[in-house]
């Protein structure tokens, strides 16, 4: 199973190669929140997709019929389809599937519901809620936009959801139930998410600085990422460029705490090890790790422990960067965007940096590719993601045979 296309809808803009170039250039897409007044929160930074105009991307889905997360998701799918060259080389509709992840789904529809309820009472609230809120509508909207009528599923695995979607798409292709899968994740910027992370004390006042000694937290963000997966045979037959092969995945659950990772990184390490085992690779053969790297003091410290558990002494030398330093934490989209990053790192031999890095943290003894992208051959890349609920998900990408 190979990645033949990707679409990114991020605080650094929407596109494919052009967004990859911006990530390699170390650009920062986070800034003051624009979609609501952040003054009452005491912090005001966020990562919003700038001037997102769904009509620029969508051809079939009527933007007004869907919530923002669906719009972001469908736009990313459209971009991915074009990048994969499938727009000109159509897939048999029943053989094309959609796997999607999210953390909070169409959270803005909850906000709308509440605003109606609080302003005008029960008689004015709730119309359209069923047509717009339920999160399974996100992959349905993607399918409507692309015209894929095959396997279709929402896997709301919070901030590991992109990896879960890739994993399910991988299994769906392997079982022969589809020829092409669009796998990804999406979340919209919402006051609910913002208030929540703020109350957890997790939002950084200015910047996201993963693995830096002075890191002060994460930056809530929105976005969507999609990778196109198909069999290598099919990709070769149609002459498509295959960025990387999906080699394997691992999933585990800490069963420890809803919002905090296991202190010894046991579950995260188990997910990494399972992914390596299915890939038939040793940890020493991994040349790049895309970190979960949210920039909160706890996440990064525990992630370093988990990586050391799996990689041993190599933990301090394998490049491990977090693009969340540039685009913030795009929630259910994050590991989907990072899946594309891993595939591109393998394909291009370039690794995006962790920006805003100033001072090493002895508790995170990692090579986080500080501030500057790096050119090295990447034969295998691991995408790590962790989530509320104690979810751990790792996916391994490697060079196409």
């Amino acid at each position: 199973m190979v990645v033949t296309g990707f679409g990114l809808v991020t605080p650094l803009g929407c596109g494919s190669r052009e967004i990859w170039d911006r990530l390699l250039a170390g650009e920062c897409g986070t800034g003051p929140v624009r979609s609501f007044d952040a003054a009452p929160y005491g912090v005001d930074r966020g990562g919003e997709v700038p001037d997102f105009d769904p009509a620029r991307y969508l051809r079939r889905l009527e933007p007004g019929s869907a919530g923002r997360a669906s719009q972001l998701a469908a736009a990313a799918a459209r971009l991915a389809l074009e990048d994969a060259g499938l727009a000109a080389d159509p897939v048999e509709p029943w053989r094309g599937g959609v796997a999607r992840g999210t953390t909070s789904g169409e959270a803005r529809e909850i906000e709308r519901f509440n605003d109606e309820l609080m302003a005008e009472g029960e008689d004015a609230a709730g119309s359209g809620f069923l047509d717009r809120y339920p999160c399974h509508l996100i992959p349905r909207h993607v399918a409507a936009e692309i015209g894929f009528l095959g396997p279709n599923l929402m896997i709301p695995a919070a901030c590991a959801a992109g990896n879960y979607a890739v994993a399910w798409a991988f299994d769906t292709l392997r079982s022969g139930r589809a020829d092409v899968m669009l796998a990804g994740g999406a979340d919209c910027f919402s006051r609910i998410t913002y208030a929540g992370f703020n109350r957890l004390g997790a939002v950084a006042p200015e910047r996201c600085q993963p693995f830096d000694r002075g890191r002060k937290g994460m930056i809530p963000a929105e976005g969507a990422g999609v990778v196109v997966l198909e069999t290598l045979e099919r990709a070769r037959r149609r002459g498509a460029h295959a960025y990387a092969e999906v080699a394997g995945y691992g999933l585990s659950c800490d069963a420890h705490h809803m919002t905090a990772a296991h202190p010894e990184g046991v579950g995260a390490a188990r997910a990494m090890e399972e992914a390596l085992e299915q890939s038939g690779l040793a940890a020493s053969e991994v040349s790049y790790v895309s970190a979960h790297g949210t920039g909160t003091p706890t996440n990064d410290r525990l992630e370093a422990i988990a990586v050391r558990r799996t990689f041993g002494a190599a933990a301090s030398s394998v490049p491990i960067s977090s693009i969340k330093s540039m685009i913030g934490h795009t929630m259910g989209a994050a590991s989907a965007i990072e899946a594309a990053v891993c595939a591109l790192a393998v394909s291009d031999g370039r690794i995006p940096p962790t920006i805003h890095f100033e001072e090493p943290d002895p508790e995170c003894p990692l090579d986080c590719v500080p501030n500057e992208a790096r050119e090295i051959p990447v034969s295998a890349a691991m995408n790590n993601s962790y989530a509320f609920g104690g979810y751990n998900a790792s996916v391994v990408f490697r060079r196409v045979p």
């Binding site: 959270a107 309820l117 299994d171 208030a195 957890l200 069963a255 989530a387």
Partner: protein
């Protein structure tokens, strides 16, 4: 290297529903023709005259013991309780070897809309500093799956799937595939849905419920001509799925085998009957093919018909198309006249109840059934329970928006 294919068996059931908290109890109640519905006003969730399937004051401690219940909202309480019952039914005790490697796949349509709206309302009305961090953890849609894993120490693969009212069936399909692929030797798969004022309001607004016009006799009438909609409900159900040899090694009884499953997408989202019928036929066709059986091999059928005007018709017609003349002779039932529609839990409840019916050799009737809609294809659905024989069963799920899924079960001999 080709090993024998891994078979997926069901070794336990745990459920909570308005008619009881065990498959046997609910089965007996259905066979006795009991209804599990109550008035929304009596539950404090909606107007008088609106029937709902609501669990009145469940005693969570009975299922969950003495732990700290505060972090669990209603969805999580329902899921964790059903999980406790399922683990016990399958003979998995705390501390058993391998128990902490058990996985969990939970289907839900909404997660907890109540928790999310309350969290947001508090932040808006009182200010963001008053929003409750503990509630925030439960705003994510996988919260109940995470909470259940924490409660029972389940460290295997954990996932939540959301597919509207097909979520429970899709969770079982997802879980069965994980076991078959060797990702896990044992996992809980099923679904949960809580009933809250917010979702009840949304369904009322959409005009999908029976009793929208206050009516003392309002109740769901699946497959009847006078049907006006369904009763929204809550519940939770898990099946314990295990790899056959692993289950045998620990001496567990295989209640049934998951033979196959299928899904069908309706591109018209239920707005066009032909398209919805095709989705049903596609799902059933794929389920039968993956089980390597034909429609004439089936011995019983659980429909998802709930009283929805269009959905019930599309499901019956799609089944007729897929089963090739067998539908009229296939003993069939639906539990939703009695239990209502609990979207995320429904498919898992159907599986648990049909499996129980086959094992008891008695199929419940549809409570209060007067006359089947004559415009539907002929169905062998009755008002009273009856004896049945055989081992192969089809569970059909037809979603509120035209989508379909189906699953084939075979009970042990």
């Amino acid at each position: 290297m080709s090993a024998a294919p891994r078979q997926v068996v069901v070794t336990g059931i745990g459920l909570l529903s308005p008619l009881g908290d065990s498959a046997q109890e609910v089965h007996d109640a259905l066979c006795a023709g009991r209804l599990g519905l109550r008035d929304a006003d009596a539950a404090g969730l909606g107007p008088a005259g609106l029937p709902i399937g609501h669990l009145a004051d469940p005693d969570w401690r009975r299922y969950l013991g003495d732990g700290n219940l505060r972090p669990l909202d209603r969805s999580s309480q329902l899921a964790a309780s059903a999980a406790a019952l399922a683990l016990a039914d399958a003979g998995w005790a705390a501390g058993d070897p391998g128990r902490d490697g058990i996985g969990l796949v939970l289907g839900t349509m909404f997660g907890s809309v109540h928790t999310i709206t309350q969290f947001d309302r508090r932040a808006v009305v009182d200010g963001p500093a008053y929003a409750k961090p503990m509630d925030f953890a439960n705003t994510v849609i996988n919260a109940a799956a995470g909470q259940t894993a924490i409660w029972h120490g389940l460290r295997g693969v954990n996932a939540t799937v959301s597919a509207g009212s097909l979520s429970g069936l899709q969770a079982l399909a997802f879980g069965a595939d994980l076991v078959r692929a060797g990702r896990c030797d044992a996992l809980l798969a099923g679904g949960v849905e809580e009933l809250c004022a917010e979702t009840l309001l949304a369904f009322r607004r959409a005009g999908l419920l029976c009793g929208a016009e206050p009516d003392a006799d309002a109740r769901p009438r699946p497959l009847e001509s006078g049907r006006t909609g369904f009763a929204l409900a809550e519940g939770a159900a898990f099946l314990v799925l295990e790899e056959e040899a692993a289950a045998a090694r620990r001496g567990a009884v295989a209640l049934a085998e998951i033979r196959g499953h299928g899904a069908g997408l309706d591109p018209a989202d239920g707005r066009d009957e032909e398209s919805a019928i095709e989705a049903v036929a596609a799902a059933v066709g794929e389920a039968l093919r993956s089980a390597a059986i034909g429609g004439s091999d089936l011995d019983a059928l659980a429909l998802s018909a709930n009283g929805a005007i269009r959905g019930d018709a599309a499901e019956a017609r799609g089944l007729e198309r897929a089963l090739d003349g067998k539908l009229a002779q296939l003993p069939a039932t639906t539990s939703k006249a009695a239990l209502g529609e609990a979207p995320g839990a429904a498919g898992a409840l159907q599986c648990a109840l049909l499996l129980t019916a086959l094992r008891c050799r008695r199929l419940p009737g549809v409570a209060g059934l007067q006359a089947l809609d004559p415009t539907l294809p002929p169905l062998d659905v009755r008002g009273e329970s009856r004896t049945i024989a055989g081992r192969l069963a089809l569970v059909s799920g037809h979603g509120l928006d035209g989508q379909s899924a189906a699953l084939v079960l075979e009970v042990g001999s």
